[in-house]
Amino acid sequence: MSNPAPAARRPLAFVRRLASAIRPVAPAPRSAGLRDEAFLRRLERLALALQRPPTQGLAGDHRSRRKTDAPEFADYRTYTPGDDFRRIDWKAYGRLGTLHYRLGESHDDLALHLLVDTSPSMDWGTPNKLDYARQLAAALGYLGLARLDAVGAGALDGRTPPLPLVRGKARAGRLFDYLEGLAPASAGRPRLVGPSAADATPLLDAVRAYRRGAARGVVVLLTDAFFPDEHAAGLGDLLQAGFQPVLLHLLSPQELAPDLAGDLELIDSESAEVVPASLTPETLARYAERLQAWCGELERYCAARRVPYVRLSTAMPLEEAVLGELRRRRLLA
């Protein structure tokens, strides 16, 4: 399925491609860190450790409750301790001297849906939250592809066409291109997810729009969660529809610990609302309390519904977030 949206949102895409063809060294793409071979190899050793509904059809690397006798070869991956010895390709070992693990189609696979919040509030902070979300989504997607899971992606804006489920590492480039093409919603435009649509459940709409026709699986929401109460309806809808939602709550270090002082007028990046504030140590302390309360409320809501919730600062290196924090929170194994 073609994806014209990124090019349309990046009017200079053609120029950039032309420039990259002319220049001896192409500029690094925004997800350049994902193409680091060592990082990708380490990702391949991980697997999503979620209680998820199995998909129908193609088999993945996850142990299936269904028994199959002659699994069909689908792909190789590097052997990791704990793998079934019987699926080691000894011929390949004889030729190459390295252990390769045969992946068969008879295994159950996991449909992994990566939903990235592209609202203007995400296009903010240093490091940029949207960039961070795209890289994190790309990392998780590559991890799934490496495990022969079915990986799909979408934007929480209700307009950008989703990336249909793809499979295999060979499709990683397509996933990366899709994620790179996700542009932030322009500021001031009414967003679907956020306070401007208080009379509706935009998150629910966006989630419904995505899951309609999508295979059941794990839905990873990468968002700053700046929506008032819609997470209840959106996450609940996913649960009711048989999906396993995961909430990765991304906040910039400036939001976590504002280094501000004096009299300011804070302008909302989405609604352009202006809030005057005299920032004193007392004000900042109250802000920190409010932030903690908000995050705690979100976490409690997710915990009550067995929705994994991980809060990440975009200041955390991506590798540490994926290989460290997500493993520590048992989202990856």
């Binding site: 910039s252 939001e255 804070l266 302008i267 909302d268 504030a277 005299s278 004193t280 004000t283 802000y287």
Partner: protein, 608 residues
């Protein structure tokens, strides 16, 4: 502790200004933010929306206030004082004419000097002395000097032959007593003759007790009073051109009758000789007529008395035609006629074309012409035209109203209200001139001093006014001539009186009885006439003799040499001894202000 500059405390007004800057908010910084939901309702909005806020504790505010306080304190110059250790002896030497009396050998002044030296001899090494000579003008000879320097000042002092200014001397002593040179003690060495005039403020003293911040002692000298003096000498030339009449008065100011021979000299030749028998306190007047052409008259008393300075008086006789005026004009008739109508004026007319090489009198009148450079003489400019030394802007017709400085000597006995001017020359008023009579279009009559010369400017043509028909015309010229020009001074100059000098563009020297004195260029008067006798004024290079004048005592009060015993002059109230600065905190406070400023900068940088 004292503040050297308490006026600097006004800078403390910066404190409320700084606090005001913290209270008022001029502009809030606008900052885009991802989502403001967490900022909403933090309780600061209402305050943040106001244009002011109550001052909050801030390290920067505290540092800035501390900087202002410390800086202002440094500017005030706080100084720790301590009482002086030594004594400050302030000696006032009366150098008036009566101190030249010889009833105490060799003179009262010499006796006063001896007493002063005795006082100085009692001073210790830490003591200081100030010597003030109260002659015709009072001035300090030594200021808070150690005893040796003060002794030299006393030994070098001379007595005058003029009335003394003891009041100023005492005020100077009071000022010196207020300095922290030591514990003050004021001693006046005098004969007390100044009290004979009876003009003293209290008990004969010329100052009131409250005017001085120190007690005043005195050491008296003198015991006799025998003195016969010439107390007046005047010469007058009658308007009808008759012989010059003379008048002199001789007074016996002693307490015993006296018989003195009096001689009258005309140009050094004896004219009259009489013996005057005068009772105590009596006086006799002499009148006489001078032979034609007499230039100088002297009255000489040959009797022996205590004071020689008043035994002779001299005066210059007024001579006809000795007020020379050069009139530079293309149409000299009007002004020449008016000038010649004034008594004693000799007018020489010069055409403007011939001005360059002409010999000029001490007073030059330019009519309708102004050279580029004014001559070294007093000048009257009438109807100035462009191209000369004055900046002429043009002409203005028929000025409506005329204003004037009613009390100005140039307008003495003149009522300018009747003056009607049809056309006025518009001048850019020179910085050295001030208007005496002016219209809405500019000044019409100005006076000033430029480069040692006196200048009067009549900024209109008298022919284009009704001035020639008014009585004010000759009076105005007479007043101008009275203030300008310097021939040989008529009459006698009273000792101590300042004498107006001839135009003095290049400096002058004055030879007098006390020696030669140099007068700087531009000086208008010569004031050092403390000694009686003849004074001659020359150019600085002595190439030309400019003038001469005669100085006589001619002051009955100064010739009254009776000594007086005066009560010590006590101050009005208790006097706090002046304290000497022991330690100045300015440097320390400036260092503190620098440290606070540096800390403030560091804190501000840290906060960014």
């Amino acid at each position: 502790m004292t503040l050297a500059n308490p006026g600097a405390l006004w800078w403390l007004v910066l404190i409320p200004l700084i606090v005001l800057l913290y209270v008022l908010r001029t502009e809030r910084r606008r900052l885009p933010w991802s989502n403001v939901r967490l900022w909403r309702g933090l309780g600061e909005e209402l305050e943040a929306r106001r244009n002011w806020r109550p001052p909050r504790w801030s390290v920067l505010l505290a540092l800035q206030l501390a900087f202002v306080v410390v800086g202002v304190l440094a500017l005030t110059g706080p100084t720790l004082l301590r009482p002086p250790d030594g004594q400050h002896l302030i000696l006032v030497l009366d150098a008036s004419a009566s101190m030249g009396a010889t009833d105490v050998a060799p003179s009262r002044f010499a006796a006063a000097q001896a007493l002063a030296l005795e006082e100085l001899g009692r001073l210790g090494p830490d003591d200081r002395a100030t010597i003030i000579r109260a002659g015709a003008e009072a001035r300090p000879l030594a200021l808070a000097e150690p005893a040796p320097q003060a002794r030299a000042a006393v030994e070098g002092a001379t007595v005058g032959q003029a009335p003394g200014d003891l009041r100023t001397g005492l005020l100077l002593a009071g000022a010196a007593a207020a300095t922290p040179a030591g514990r003050p003690r004021v001693v006046v060495l005098t004969d007390g003759a100044f009290a004979n005039a009876g003009a003293g403020a209290r008990d004969g003293w010329p100052v009131a007790a409250g005017e001085l911040a120190a007690p005043v002692e005195y050491l008296t000298v003198g015991r006799g009073d025998a003195n016969v003096a010439v107390t007046a000498l005047a010469l007058r030339r009658p308007p009808n051109g008759g012989p010059t009449a003379g008048y002199a008065r001789v007074a016996n100011l002693g307490s015993a009758p006296a018989s003195v021979p009096a001689r009258l000299f005309a140009d050094g030749l004896p004219l009259q000789s009489r013996r005057l028998d005068l009772a105590a306190g009596a006086s006799e007047e002499l009148t006489f007529s001078l032979p034609p052409g007499t230039r100088a008259v002297a009255v000489q008393l040959d009797g022996a008395d205590l004071l020689a300075a008043d035994n002779r008086a001299e005066a210059r006789a007024p001579a006809s035609g000795d007020r020379a005026v050069t009139l530079v004009s293309a149409q000299p008739d009007l002004l020449a006629r008016a000038l010649r109508a004034l008594p004693g004026v000799r007018v020489t007319t010069v055409a403007p074309d011939a001005y360059a090489g002409a010999a000029l009198a001490p007073l030059v009148v330019f009519d309708g012409f102004v050279p580029r450079t004014l001559p070294a003489a007093d000048v009257i400019v009438v109807n100035p035209q462009p191209g000369g030394a004055l900046d002429v802007l043009g002409e203005a017709p028929a000025p409506a109203t005329i204003s004037y400085d009613r009390g100005h000597p140039l307008l003495d006995t003149i009522d300018p209200a009747a003056l009607q001017i049809s056309k006025i020359v518009r001048l850019r008023t020179p910085a050295w001139a001030s208007p005496v009579l002016w219209t809405a279009d500019g000044p019409a009559l100005l006076e000033g001093v430029n480069g040692g010369r006196r200048v009067v400017i009549l900024a209109f043509d008298p022919r284009a006014s009704n001035l020639p028909r008014l009585r004010a015309f000759p009076l105005l010229l007479a007043n101008a001539l009275d203030r300008l020009g310097w021939g040989e001074r008529e009459g006698s100059v009273v000792a101590g009186q300042a004498v107006r000098l001839p135009p003095n563009a290049g400096g002058q020297v004055v030879d007098g009885p006390a020696g030669t004195e140099t007068v700087p260029a531009g000086a208008l008067a010569f004031a050092d006439t403390e000694r009686v006798g003849r004074y001659a004024v020359h150019t600085a290079d002595r190439a030309a003799d400019l003038a001469e004048f005669r100085v006589s005592l001619l002051a009955p009060a100064a010739s009254d040499v009776r000594p007086n015993a005066l009560a010590p002059l006590a101050p009005a109230g208790p006097i706090a001894p002046p304290a000497a600065p022991a330690f100045a905190f300015t440097g320390l406070l400036l260092l503190g202000a620098l440290a606070i400023s540096t800390t403030e900068w560091w804190w501000w940088s840290k906060g960014r």
